[in-house]
């Protein structure tokens, strides 16, 4: 039961270009979405989030877009840097649960080439 899906297992972009990572969800009760970045042998690190009442949130080079009708969100990284190379996880909070449980996607491995 994959409630959060990241259909692209990997993405390769050139340094300086835009990276676009996509995420789809199925549960309409999800009301808060997050992106985490993970390096090998480390825990996930919070990157950026968006509430379901917004359609865009920006933080420096990172922007997250939310399309509620399509149940789709995307993370844009502009410009991409080699240090951005990592696994990116999309995650969602279930608004019907008050425990703060996160549902994760499978992750997308981003490689930024110098």
């Amino acid at each position: 039961d994959q409630q959060v899906k990241q259909n692209s297992p990997s993405l390769s972009v050139q340094e300086g270009r835009i990276s676009i990572l996509n995420c789809d969800y199925t549960n309409s009760m999800f009301d808060y979405f997050l992106w985490y970045k993970k390096y090998p042998a480390e825990g996930p690190t919070f990157l950026i989030s968006i509430s379901s009442i917004k359609d865009k949130n920006e933080d420096g080079r990172f922007t997250v877009f939310l399309n509620k009708s399509a149940k789709h969100l995307s993370l844009h990284i502009v410009p991409s840097q080699p240090g951005d190379s990592a696994v990116y996880f999309c995650a969602a909070y279930d608004g019907s649960s008050n425990t703060g449980k996160l549902i994760f996607g499978q992750g997308t491995t981003l490689q930024v080439k110098p």
Binding site: G43, P44, S49, S97, T99, G100, Q106
Partner: protein, 113 residues
């Protein structure tokens, strides 16, 4: 900057043995979690803990698993009788309010042989 710390970083255990994974969450956080990631798979929720009791657990979190907050700082995950399929990275996380971003530890790699 405050961080979640986990020990040990790597634990190797024989099948059937008990293991205890330890975590020190961020001190003013109220919600605590354990997640795991089997190699090559997604991060999966195991259990959430609030106000000294389990608030939610997944199907994975069966009777072989237990959590405890024995004092004001530590948060532990115990697996009573480990199986080969318990081999995974186990992540502890904490959250100040339960509805903002969770902060993760660096993980414990559990290898069951």
């Amino acid at each position: 900057e405050p961080e979640v710390t986990q020990t040990p970083s790597h634990q190797v255990t024989q099948m059937g043995q008990e293991v205890i994974l330890r975590c020190v969450p961020i001190s003013n956080h109220l919600y605590f979690y354990w997640y795991r990631q089997i190699l090559g798979q997604k991060v999966e929720f195991l259990v959430s803990f609030y106000n000294n009791e389990i608030s939610e657990k997944s199907e994975i979190f069966d009777d072989q698993f237990s959590v405890e907050r024995p004092d004001g700082s530590n948060f532990t995950l115990k697996i009573r009788s480990t199986k080969l399929e318990d081999s995974a990275m186990y992540f502890c996380a904490s959250n100040p309010t339960g509805d903002t971003e969770a902060f993760f530890g660096q993980g414990t790699r559990l290898t069951v042989v």
